[in-house]
């Protein structure tokens, strides 16, 4: 296949789609499937068949549409008309919807979600532009929306050097959490000497409540493959590995299918798009360790070894997989590549703030009216996310804190609601951008309990290689446990803080270095809550039991 064939394929698919009067897009992403999405899809297919609408109605299983707590979601595209979005669709309702669009019955208004609500209006979809509109299992759907043209353009019109320059100019930074400039990393791997090089996509997303990468892999797998191929061309690699978390079977299945489809059409494999560039992609599935999201542990896992980090330097850009230069990027980072090549670095750099360009996907969870997956321009305030996109806190309660970055991040209290969401501002508040988990908490959340939850997570997920993380997390969890059960003394809080700083500074990898962050950040912003537990035996949020007393006090009784 060459670029002209690609164009023809896109045109054919667009024409085919236009022959349908009505396309019913059903979300087949994990959240909607778990709330009954496949039954809805089946019901729609049945209703179309029974009504004899096969010729002008089409039911498509797509990726995520965003407002996951309102699932199962469907979107109806009618030729000439505006899209209509339906929420909480049941199989019965879906029959009604089909009948309505076949002009036989009134619209089922109670299921309609207006398309102009802030949830949609305040978002800017770049990485997720195709998500919810295409069938992730059909290559043609992706190509019809301009897929693989960026790869074609890069291979014919750009040199590896200019591709790297374009990514540097776009200001794209790593979306895995640390925010390292992506273009610089690409350029480093491009310049590194090695007879073979590798590209790795990190899809081992493990933060509790976060599912940005899963959604991207499930909803638009070809976007990721295209990004990897462009990266391979830019750095001089002919082999890519897609590391997918073991808990994401749907994503792995769709990626495998996408790779096969792309290879069959000459979009991956040997002589990509009739050029001299060869690029193979293989999927590697993780075995369930959170630490394998850390790049050195991830590479150990790809090479078939125990998933444990090794000290850096050497960085993967110098010596990675099988000691060859390796480019390792987060899935979301690679998802941003095709639009940058397609629309240009300047277009991308206009979105966002001075230092954080582009958009960021957040998995909005917790105590907001609408939870789900959102993509917003960098620099949007937390207030806009919580009150406009999320629709505010339910039950008339007050916002207490937002937790970003999962077990490596921290909490942002109400006083900082107007903070712009970008790498620097979040770091200044003692939190991190992280991979995009965003948990909103109301007054009923106890911050000590939250810190304990994340510490328990880190304790379970510590690989056990270095002492501070292996034993330190257990001891920090014990101390937090004491505070929440009421048996802590003021001395324990001091010991906890000391331990936090030590573990942060001496741990071997990012897991241990960031494990104390939730504790340090909650102590910083909510010290009075810790003190209330220790001094007054009181949990202001009413979460902790506090049914024990410190040993020293017991002795006095």
């Amino acid at each position: 296949m060459n670029r002209a064939d690609l164009e023809t394929m896109a045109q054919r698919e667009v024409q085919r789609q236009q022959t349908f009067r009505c396309r019913i897009l059903c979300c087949a992403s994990t959240p909607c499937l778990s709330s009954g999405g496949s039954a809805v899809h089946d019901a729609i297919k049945d209703a179309i068949k029974e009504g004899g609408f096969d010729a002008d109605f089409q039911a498509v299983a797509t990726g995520c549409m965003g407002p996951c707590s309102r699932g199962p979601m469907i979107t109806v595209q009618t030729s000439g008309g505006e899209d209509v979005i339906y929420e909480h669709v049941t199989p019965e309702a879906s029959r009604q919807i089909v009948a309505h669009h076949a002009a036989a019955s009134p619209a089922p208004v109670e299921y309609i979600l207006p398309g102009d609500i802030p949830f949609f209006a305040k978002q800017k979809k770049v990485v997720l532009a195709n998500s919810g509109f295409i069938d992730p299992e059909r290559l043609e759907d992706y190509v019809a929306r301009g897929g693989y043209t960026a790869l074609g353009y890069a291979l014919r019109e750009m040199t590896p050097e200019t591709v790297c320059r374009e990514i540097i100019d776009s200001g794209l930074r790593g979306r895995g959490g640390a925010g390292y400039p992506t273009g610089l990393k690409w350029d480093m791997v491009r310049k590194a000497r090695g007879d073979r090089k590798y590209v790795v996509a990190n899809g081992d997303e493990g933060d509790p409540g976060a599912y940005m990468d899963r959604t991207l892999m499930e909803s638009d797998p070809h976007r990721l493959l295209e990004g990897m191929a462009i990266a391979g061309y830019a750095v001089g690699a002919d082999q890519g590995f897609l590391y997918v978390r073991g808990e994401y079977p749907i994503a792995a299945k769709r990626l495998e299918r996408a790779i096969r489809a792309a290879e069959r059409r000459g979009l991956l494999g040997s002589r990509v798009l009739d050029s001299n560039f060869n690029f193979r992609v293989d999927v590697r599935i993780g075995a369930g360790a959170f630490v394998c999201g850390e790049e050195t542990a991830l590479m150990a896992s790809i090479m078939g070894m125990r998933g444990q980090p090794v000290p850096r330097p050497p960085y993967p850009a110098q010596s990675g997989l099988w000691e060859k230069p390796t480019l390792i990027n987060n899935v979301e980072t690679l998802g941003s590549i095709a639009p940058i090549i397609q629309h240009g670095a300047a277009w991308f750099a206009e979105i966002g703030t001075a230092k954080s360009k582009g958009t960021k996907i957040f998995a909005l969870a917790g105590k907001v009216d609408t939870t789900g997956l959102i993509e917003v321009p960098m620099g949007i305030t937390l207030r806009e996310i919580v009150y406009d996109i999320g629709g505010g806190i339910p039950d008339g309660l007050d916002f207490k804190a937002a937790q970003t970055g999962g077990p490596s991040g921290g909490c942002i209290p109400a006083a900082h609601l107007d903070t712009p969401m970008d790498y620097e501002s979040l770091r200044a508040l003692g939190s991190i951008m992280g991979s995009g988990g965003l948990i909103i908490m109301d007054e009923r959340s106890c911050m000590v309990d939250v810190a304990k939850f994340f510490m328990e997570f880190c304790m379970d997920e510590s690989c056990g290689k270095c002492v501070p993380c292996r034993v330190g997390t257990v001891q920090m969890h014990h101390l937090l446990e004491r505070i929440t059960t009421g048996s802590a003394t003021a001395q324990d809080l001091e010991t906890l803080q000391d331990l936090c700083v030590m573990v942060k500074e001496t741990s071997l990898c990012g897991l241990g270095q960031s494990a104390p962050n939730p504790v340090l950040s909650t102590i910083h912003y909510f010290l009075e809550e810790y003190m209330a537990h220790i001094r007054d035996h009181q949990c202001l949020a009413g979460v902790c039991t506090l049914d024990q007393a410190p040993i020293t006090e017991l002795a006095l009784v």
């Binding site: 090794v310 000290p311 510590s462 270095c466 501070p468 292996r470 034993v471 000391d498 001496t506």
Partner: protein
């Protein structure tokens, strides 16, 4: 090989390029606590006792896995570092059962030495006291998980020097355990050559000769140098 100059604790020091910082510190006679490091084995960087401050770097670095560089400015015994080392040793003592008075290695234990040298006189953390087993199924050696600090010297010596790879690690975090073959009793292992290298390199009383009682066990590391000299330089002179 070229030579680099660096500053260690305000003193100018020359070193060969490619050397680790820890090797240079040892050469200079600067006392550096280590547990997972053992000359002759690959570096692990896991015990975090040899952490040093490098000027111009915000992060502390483990000396055993840091290569010397021209103009590096190193501090090895700042107040902060000594405090952290003490805390790490306390964490190790609290992790499993390290009651020296009833240990075969009492008086010869590297963990005990390091704690004594640094002046660790109490443990401020809760003793975890996990319920761990012993494996006395081997005819000559005993494995006591209660004394294990997961330095993995046994794993490395068996893989790198003996070439048998009997040992490995299973589980993760505080539930990590060294295991024999596919987690089976030592006595049933068919890959174990009973060479005893793992026992000799073990820094604590986790591996010891069967029959040894309190404070009787002493370990020799010099066989490592002898084997490596023989293999690499073809020099076989034991006892030099």
């Amino acid at each position: 090989m070229s030579v680099v100059t660096l500053t260690i604790n305000d003193e100018l020091v020359s070193a060969q390029e490619g050397e680790t910082l820890l090797a240079v510190l040892h050469e200079r006679g600067i006392d550096m606590p280590t547990l997972c490091h053992l000359e002759g084995l690959s570096e692990r960087g896991g015990c975090r006792l040899c952490m040093v401050e490098l000027e111009g770097s915000s992060r502390l670095q483990a000396a055993c896995v840091t290569q010397v560089q021209e103009d590096m400015i190193v501090h090895t015994h700042s107040e902060r570092l000594v405090k952290y080392r003490k805390m790490i040793l306390e964490l190790l003592f609290a992790e499993r059962n390290h009651i020296c008075a009833v240990c075969v290695m009492n008086g010869n234990c590297e963990l005990q030495w390091e704690a004594a040298k640094i002046g660790m006189d109490h443990v401020r953390y809760e003793y975890l006291n996990p319920d761990l087993a012993m494996d006395a199924s081997h005819e000559r050696y005993v494995l006591d998980h209660n004394r294990c600090i997961l330095c993995t010297r046994c794993v490395r010596v068996c893989d790198e020097i003996e070439g048998a790879h009997v040992w490995d690690v299973m589980g993760r975090g505080a539930n990590s355990r060294v295991i024999i073959d596919l987690n089976q009793a030592w006595g049933t292992s068919q890959s174990c050559t009973s060479c005893g290298k793992c026992v000799q390199v073990c820094p604590t009383g986790a591996l010891f000769d069967k029959g040894a009682t309190v404070a009787e066990m002493e370990k020799q590391h010099n066989f490592l140098r002898w084997i490596l000299d023989g293999r690499e330089k073809n020099v076989w002179s034991y006892g030099k």
